[in-house]
């Protein structure tokens, strides 16, 4: 499955798309990357005069690359219709170890723990350009393709 096809099926768009590209995808996990734009709107408020990427957005970036891109790949043989992806994050347990500043490029890796009955559970890690671990944790979500009648 070409990476562009996975990216095309992501149910996100600006200003809430946190995937620029994928380096690898397999049944066991993904690796992808994203650069937080220097002029992203949230830096105006987080924090006042001291822009740092909010932890929730690091989690979101890990979820989009690690969980949702992997889920799309794992559902590739499900022919219930293109573009009818239903995604719901059900739990996230994260540790944040280093700040991510405006303009930083991060790389996310995920390892599948299990994918059963449409629930995908992954271990995720995010690294900065210096290959330092920025955050890590476990994210789960329900992911499936809806039948096209809906």
């Amino acid at each position: 499955m070409p990476y562009e096809e996975i990216l095309d099926q992501l149910p996100y768009t600006e200003p809430f798309l946190f995937v620029d590209g994928l380096n690898s995808v397999s049944d066991d996990g993904t690796e992808g990357f994203y650069t937080f734009p220097v002029d992203a709107y949230f830096y105006e408020g987080h924090f006042k005069n001291h822009p740092v990427t909010p932890g929730v957005l690091l989690t979101e970036c890990c979820a989009q690359i690690g969980l949702v891109c992997l889920g799309i790949f794992l559902l590739k043989d499900d022919d219930k219709g293109y573009g009818n992806l239903l995604v719901a994050m059900s739990s996230a347990e994260m540790e944040y170890l280093a700040p991510v500043f405006p303009g930083e490029k991060v790389t996310v890796t995920s390892e599948k723990v299990y994918f059963r009955f449409n629930k995908l559970k992954c271990q995720v890690r995010m690294f900065n350009a210096q290959k330092e671990l920025v955050c890590k944790g476990t994210i789960s979500g329900m992911i499936k393709k809806n039948s096209s009648e809906q």
């Binding site: 059963r116 009955f117 629930k119």
Partner: protein
Amino acid sequence: MNENQKYDKLKAIISTYLPDDVSVDDIQMNSHFINELNINSAHLVDIVLDVEDEFDIMLENEDMEQMQTVKDALEIIDAKLA
């Protein structure tokens, strides 16, 4: 393992995933996991995975679809153990 023991083991598993506003005493044989016990679909998967470990069985997608109530779950467990 008799039926009561199975029921107790299942109840113990379910109780882990009950939301705060539902108590263990609310679990009855005919309780519907989603509509009555307010268990979400992600936790229903957790229950199935725990049931598989506890009873050393394997459930399929069809079992998951049929598993609406506590009674359904016990019947599926019985069928798998038979």
